[in-house]
C-alpha cells in the first residue's frame, strides 16, 4: 500500500474541501497468532487489517473520524463528513496541529526483515515447546492455559498539512506460557513471556517456561496476613504498575485544570532522592522505541524525575499551547481511531546501587510485592490503595506466599519513603523499573 500517496492525498483533499489544517494517520497491520494448549493447537489466527484516521481543524474547531474502508469513494466521503464534524464543534484558541514542521527522524532499526521468513510450523513448535517445558518443571503443575506465539508487522504513517510526512515499518514478536499449579481451592496461575523486535533476540524457550512455572508454583498456599504497617519491597516487575499511576498523575492538562494532586509539584521533591526517571524511546531495536510520536514529533530522551525532583509534566502540542508552556511535547496515539494525547512513551526508572538481596536486609517483618492489581494511585486525590500478592518476609528472608492483601497510603508519602533501590533493571517494554523498598506501608489483611 502506498501510504505516502494516500496520506498526502487525503490531507490535500481536506484542505481543498475547506479545512484550515488536516492530518491523516494510516495503519496496516499483519498479524500471526497461535495458542496451543496441552500440546495441541487451540487457535490459529492470521490477519491483515488497515485503517485511516483523519483530523481536521476549521477556525480551530475539531473534526475527527476514522474508517477501515480505504476505497477512494469511502475516503472522499470521509473527508466530507470530517469537515462537517468540524462545523459542529466550537473553536478553542489552542486547538490545531503542532507548530513544528517536518523533523529529522532517526532509523531505530525496529524492523526485522527475517521474521517474515520464519515458517508457521516453527512458531507453532515454539508455542508448544514453551508450554511443554513449563508443565514439566514441577509435579505440582496440574494444568495449563497454554502457550502462545505471536508476531506483528506494522506499517504506519502520519501526514499533515504542515509538511509532516513520516512513515514507520516495525516488527514485534513474542511467545508466552501460562500454567496452573495446585488443585481444588488451592490453585495458582503463573505466566511469563518474551517480546522483542527481532526474532533472533527472543529469550530461550527454557527460560520463559521455567519462569512461568516458578511463578505458579511459588504462590501455592498463598494466604492473607493480618493488618499491619511494615516495610514493603516492590519487585522489579510488579513495580511497573506502581509507576504507571505516578506517570498518569503528571499530565499537563490535568495540572492546568488543577485536577491532579501533582499540580503544585513541579521542580519540587516528590520522591526519595534515590529515584530518577527517564523517558527514552530512542534505544535501537528496543520493543518500547519509536522514532516519532503521535503528532509527528521526533522522540528524544527526557528526564521526568531527577534525584526525586519532578522535572516536567506531559504535554502534547495542544495542551502545551493552552497552558502557555514551551516544552518538548510527547503525544501518544493508540492506533488510527483517535487523536493524540500527552503521555509517556518508554519509561526507565533508573537503577539504584543495591544488590536485590540488600533490600531484604534488616527487614524483620515485611512484604515483598510480586503482583499488583492496578496501579494504586488515585490521580485526583493522591490516595493510594491497591490489592496485591507476593511473599511475607521474616527476618530478612522470604517466608511464605501472600495473596488477598491491600496496600494503603498516599502516593507522595510512599514515594518519599523509598529507602533502597536495587540495581536489577530488566528492560522489557515501555515501562521498566528496578526493585525498590519503601520504609513503611499499611498492609490491609485479615482482622482490623
Amino acid at each position: 500500500m502506498d501510504f505516502k500517496r494516500i496520506g498526502e492525498d487525503i490531507v490535500n483533499k481536506a484542505i481543498k474541501a475547506g479545512a484550515d489544517e488536516a492530518e491523516a494517520v494510516i495503519e496496516n497491520v499483519k498479524e500471526f497468532n497461535v495458542n496451543v494448549r496441552k500440546g495441541e493447537v487451540e487457535t490459529l489466527q492470521k490477519s491483515v487489517s488497515k485503517g485511516l484516521g483523519l483530523r481536521v481543524y476549521i477556525n480551530k474547531a475539531l473534526g475527527l473520524s476514522y474508517t477501515s474502508d480505504l476505497s477512494p469513494e469511502s475516503l472522499d466521503e470521509t473527508v466530507k463528513r470530517t469537515i462537517d464534524l468540524a462545523k459542529i464543534t466550537e473553536s478553542k484558541p489552542w486547538q490545531g496541529l503542532p507548530d513544528f514542521g517536518p523533523q529529522p527522524l532517526a532509523d531505530l532499526d525496529l524492523y526485522d526483515p527475517e521474521i517474515a521468513a520464519v515458517p508457521d510450523e516453527k512458531k507453532i513448535a515454539m508455542a508448544k515447546e514453551v508450554e511443554r517445558i513449563a508443565m514439566a518443571q514441577d509435579k505440582r503443575i496440574t494444568n495449563s492455559e497454554g502457550g502462545s506465539f505471536s508476531n506483528t508487522e506494522r506499517e504506519a504513517g502520519l501526514f499533515n498539512s504542515k509538511g509532516i510526512s513520516c512513515v514507520l515499518k516495525e516488527t514485534s514478536c513474542g511467545f508466552s506460557a501460562y500454567v496452573i499449579a495446585g488443585e481444588g481451592d488451592n490453585m495458582q496461575g503463573g505466566g511469563w513471556s518474551s517480546n522483542k523486535r527481532f526474532f533472533k533476540e527472543l529469550a530461550p524457550v527454557e527460560d520463559v517456561a521455567k519462569t512461568a512455572a516458578q511463578r505458579a508454583v511459588e504462590m501455592l498456599g498463598a494466604r492473607p496476613v493480618e493488618t499491619n504497617k511494615v516495610p514493603v519491597i516492590f519487585d522489579r516487575y510488579a513495580a511497573r504498575s506502581f509507576w504507571m499511576g505516578i506517570l498518569f498523575a503528571i499530565d499537563g492538562d490535568d495540572v492546568f485544570r488543577k485536577t491532579t494532586f501533582m499540580t503544585e509539584m513541579l521542580d519540587k521533591p516528590i520522591a526519595s532522592a534515590l529515584i530518577t526517571i527517564n523517558d527514552d524511546p530512542t534505544r535501537r531495536r528496543f520493543i518500547g522505541s519509536v522514532p516519532f510520536d503521535g503528532e509527528g514529533n521526533t522522540t528524544r530522551k527526557i528526564t521526568v524525575v531527577d534525584k526525586g525532583v519532578l522535572k516536567m509534566f506531559y504535554y502534547d502540542s495542544q495542551t502545551a499551547r493552552k497552558a502557555g508552556v514551551k516544552v518538548h511535547t510527547v503525544a501518544r496515539r493508540y492506533g488510527y481511531k483517535g487523536g493524540p494525547g500527552a503521555g509517556f512513551i518508554c519509561i526507565t526508572v533508573e537503577n539504584g546501587k543495591d544488590d536485590p538481596a540488600e533490600l531484604f536486609k534488616g527487614v524483620k517483618e515485611g512484604l515483598l510485592v510480586t503482583g499488583m492489581r492496578g496501579s494504586g494511585t488515585d490521580t485526583t486525590t493522591g490516595a493510594f490503595s491497591v490489592g496485591c500478592s507476593g511473599f511475607w518476609i521474616a527476618d530478612g528472608a522470604k517466608a511464605f506466599p501472600v495473596d488477598g492483601v491491600t496496600l494503603g497510603g498516599t502516593t507522595l508519602e510512599i514515594l518519599k519513603g523509598i529507602d533502597k533501590v536495587a540495581n536489577d533493571l530488566d528492560l522489557r517494554g515501555s515501562l521498566n523499573s528496578p526493585s525498590f523498598r519503601v520504609a513503611e506501608i499499611t498492609v490491609g489483611g485479615k482482622k482490623a
Binding site: 497468532n33 495441541e40 493447537v41 487457535t43 490459529l44 489466527q45 490477519s47 491483515v48 487489517s49 485503517g51 475527527l64 476514522y66 477501515s68 474502508d69 466521503e77 463528513r81 464534524l85 459542529i88 494444568n143 492455559e145 502462545s148 505471536s150 508476531n151 514478536c173 511467545f175 508466552s176 501460562y178 495458582q188 496461575g189 503463573g190 505466566g191 511469563w192 513471556s193 498463598a222 499530565d251 492538562d253 485544570r257 485536577t259 493508540y334 492496578g374 488515585d378 490521580t379 485526583t380 486525590t381 490516595a383 493510594f384 490503595s385 490489592g387 488477598g404 491491600t406 496496600l407 494503603g408 498516599t410 517494554g429 515501555s430 499499611t442 498492609v443 490491609g444 485479615k446 482490623a448
Partner: protein
C-alpha cells in the same frame, strides 16, 4: 479522574494476552470521557442491508472454502459498525467524532481447534483468501458441504425507536450544554465539567455451515456527566450516567438537568472524604454498581472456557452450594434495553436468561458454541466477540443478582461499624484463584446503623468463593445498569450488571488507616 487514559492495556491486541497479565480479567466502568467514538451520520445509514456482494450464494461459496480442508464447522461473521460521539469540555462542544468499522471474519473449527482469519476488504477474492486461511486449521479433504440456510427471526430486547445515529448533532449537543450549565451552577467549588453522548450501531450478519443465517442491528447509547471539585487542597470527582440499548427517545433535557445535578452533588459530597480504614469489615453495597462485583468476582469464573479447561475455581461445582442461600444470580441477555442485551449473540444463538446460581447452588455456566459442544451442554447465548477481527468466546451479557425481601434501610441499620459502598470504579479478577479487587469511587463509613462520613481510597479485596458465602441480606430494590466494557483475552465488550442493596458480613478493605 484519569482523563484520556484508558486502562493501561497498551496495545489491546498485543501478544501479552496470557503471559504478562497473569490471566487477570479487567472490567472498567468508565465515565464517558474515557471512551472514544464518533459523530452522527454514517457513510451510509447503519441499517443498510448486509454487505454489498455478501448474498447467500456468495456466503455458501465462502463456507465451502472454509471447509475445503475438512473442518467440522465453519462460520462467516460480517459487521458494519458506525460509532458516534460528541463531547463537551471546558464549557464548549469540543470533540465530534465518527468512525466506520467494516469487515468479515471466518472461523473454522475442527475438534477443539479453531482457525480464524478476517478481511476488511470485501472483495470476493480477499474474502476467499481469508476463508482459505481459516481453513488451514484442519488438514485433509473437504468432508462436508454447508447446509441450506434457514433465517432466524428472534424477538427484540432493544428499546430503540429513534436510532441515535440518525439524530442531528445539535440535539445531542443541547443535552450536553444543559447538563454542563446545571452542574456548574450547582456549587462554585465545581471546577471542571465534562459531558458526553456516545452511540453505536452495529449491523451484524452470521451464516454458518449448519445452515444458520441471522442478522441483527445492535444499537447502544450512553449519556454521562462528570465533575471535578476543589476546595483548598481537597479534590474530588463525581459522575452520573445512563447507558443501554436505548433509542434517542430515552433522553431528555430534564434528564440532562438531573444528571448534571447528581454528578455535581456527588463531587461536593466527596470533597471532605477521609482516608479509608484497612482491615476486615462488614459492607453494604447499594443497588446498581455492586453488579460489577458479581461480574468480576463470580461471573468470570463461571465462563465455560475456564470451566472446561478446569482452570476456574468453580470447574467442578455444578449442582453444589457455592453461595449463601439468599443468592440467585442471572446472566440475562434478554433484559429489555440493557447495555449487554442481545437478540442474538455473535454466533447467532438467540439471547437467553440463564440462572447461574439458584439459591446458592451452582446451576449453569456461561456457554458459547464451541465450549457447549465440547461439554455437551446447551448454548446460553453468550458467544460474543469485540468485532469481526476476533473469534467468539464465552462472555457475560447482563449479570445481576435477583432481588430479595429486605428493605434497604434495614440492611444499613443492621451494621454497627462497616462501610456503605455506593459506586465502584473498576476491578479485576484472577479466575484461577477467584481473587478480586475493586476500587470504590463513592463510599462511606457506617456507624451505629447510620451512613456517616465519606471515604477516599477504598479498595475491596477478597475471593469470590468466600464473599458469595458471606452475603447475608438482600434488598428488594434491584437496579440493572451499564455503560462499561469488560476486557477478556484482549477483547473489549459492553456488559451490563446489577444488584439489589446487599450486605456482605466481612470483606477485606484496603485503606490507609491501620
Amino acid at each position: 479522574m484519569n482523563r484520556h487514559k484508558p486502562h493501561q492495556s497498551m496495545d489491546r491486541r498485543s501478544f501479552l494476552k496470557k503471559g504478562m497479565q497473569t490471566g487477570a480479567l479487567v472490567v472498567s466502568y468508565p465515565v464517558w470521557k474515557h471512551l472514544s467514538g464518533s459523530d452522527r451520520q454514517a457513510l451510509f445509514a447503519a441499517e443498510t442491508a448486509p454487505a454489498a456482494g455478501l448474498d447467500k450464494d456468495i456466503l455458501k461459496k465462502l463456507l465451502e472454502a472454509c471447509l475445503s480442508r475438512g473442518g467440522d464447522f465453519a462460520e462467516v461473521y460480517y459487521e458494519r459498525t458506525v460509532t458516534n460521539s460528541l463531547s463537551l469540555d471546558e464549557e464548549k462542544i469540543s470533540t465530534a467524532t465518527r468512525g466506520l468499522d467494516m469487515g468479515a471474519g471466518f472461523r473454522v473449527v475442527q475438534g477443539e481447534k479453531t482457525g480464524y482469519a478476517f478481511s476488511d476488504d470485501l472483495d470476493f477474492a480477499r474474502l476467499k483468501e481469508a476463508a482459505e486461511t481459516a481453513a488451514l486449521i484442519a488438514s485433509g479433504a473437504a468432508a462436508q458441504k454447508p447446509q441450506n440456510f434457514t433465517s432466524l427471526s428472534p424477538p427484540s430486547y432493544y428499546l430503540v425507536k429513534v436510532s441515535p445515529d440518525t439524530v442531528a448533532s445539535k440535539e445531542k449537543a443541547a443535552l450536553l450544554i444543559r447538563a454542563n450549565s446545571v452542574a456548574r451552577a450547582f456549587d462554585k467549588r465545581i471546577t471542571q465539567v465534562g459531558v458526553g453522548f456516545y452511540d453505536y450501531s452495529k449491523r451484524i450478519m452470521i451464516a454458518n455451515s449448519e445452515g444458520l443465517y441471522a442478522e441483527d442491528t445492535q444499537t447502544l447509547s450512553r449519556f454521562g456527566v462528570s465533575c471535578d471539585a476543589l476546595e483548598g487542597s481537597q479534590r474530588s470527582t463525581g459522575y452520573e450516567s445512563k447507558a443501554g440499548s436505548f433509542g434517542f427517545e430515552h433522553y431528555s433535557l430534564s434528564q440532562a438537568d438531573e444528571f448534571g445535578r447528581k454528578a455535581a452533588e456527588m463531587a461536593i459530597r466527596m470533597l471532605p472524604a477521609e482516608d479509608a480504614p484497612a482491615g476486615e469489615f462488614p459492607i453494604v453495597i447499594a443497588k446498581g454498581y455492586g453488579g460489577i462485583f458479581f461480574h468480576e468476582a463470580i461471573g468470570h469464573s463461571l465462563e465455560a472456557d475456564g470451566i472446561r479447561k478446569k482452570t476456574s475455581c468453580f470447574w467442578d461445582k455444578l449442582g453444589q452450594p457455592i453461595a449463601s442461600p439468599v443468592v440467585t444470580l442471572a446472566d440475562d441477555g434478554t433484559y429489555k434495553g440493557a447495555w449487554g442485551s442481545v437478540n442474538i449473540d455473535d454466533e447467532g444463538c438467540v439471547g437467553k436468561n440463564t440462572i447461574l446460581i439458584d439459591k446458592g447452588i451452582c446451576a449453569a455456566f456461561i456457554q458459547d458454541k464451541l465450549n457447549a459442544n465440547l461439554m455437551k451442554k446447551g448454548q446460553t447465548g453468550n458467544g460474543r466477540r469485540e468485532s469481526y477481527q476476533f473469534y467468539p468466546i464465552p462472555r457475560m451479557t447482563n449479570t445481576y443478582m435477583h432481588a430479595g425481601e429486605a428493605k434497604p434501610e434495614d440492611i444499613i441499620k443492621s451494621v454497627s461499624k462497616g462501610l456503605y459502598i455506593v459506586k465502584i470504579g473498576g476491578g479485576n479478577v484472577q479466575p484461577t484463584t477467584g481473587r478480586f479487587v475493586f476500587s470504590v469511587t463513592e463510599g462511606y463509613m457506617i456507624e451505629g446503623g447510620k451512613v456517616a462520613q465519606p471515604l477516599k481510597g477504598i479498595m475491596l479485596m477478597g475471593s469470590g468463593q468466600e464473599v458469595l458465602k458471606n452475603i447475608s441480606m438482600v434488598g428488594d430494590d434491584l437496579l440493572v445498569i451499564g455503560g462499561g466494557t469488560c476486557g477478556k483475552d484482549g477483547q473489549a465488550k459492553p456488559t451490563g450488571f446489577g444488584n439489589p442493596t446487599l450486605k456482605v458480613d466481612k470483606i477485606t478493605i484496603g485503606g490507609k488507616k491501620a
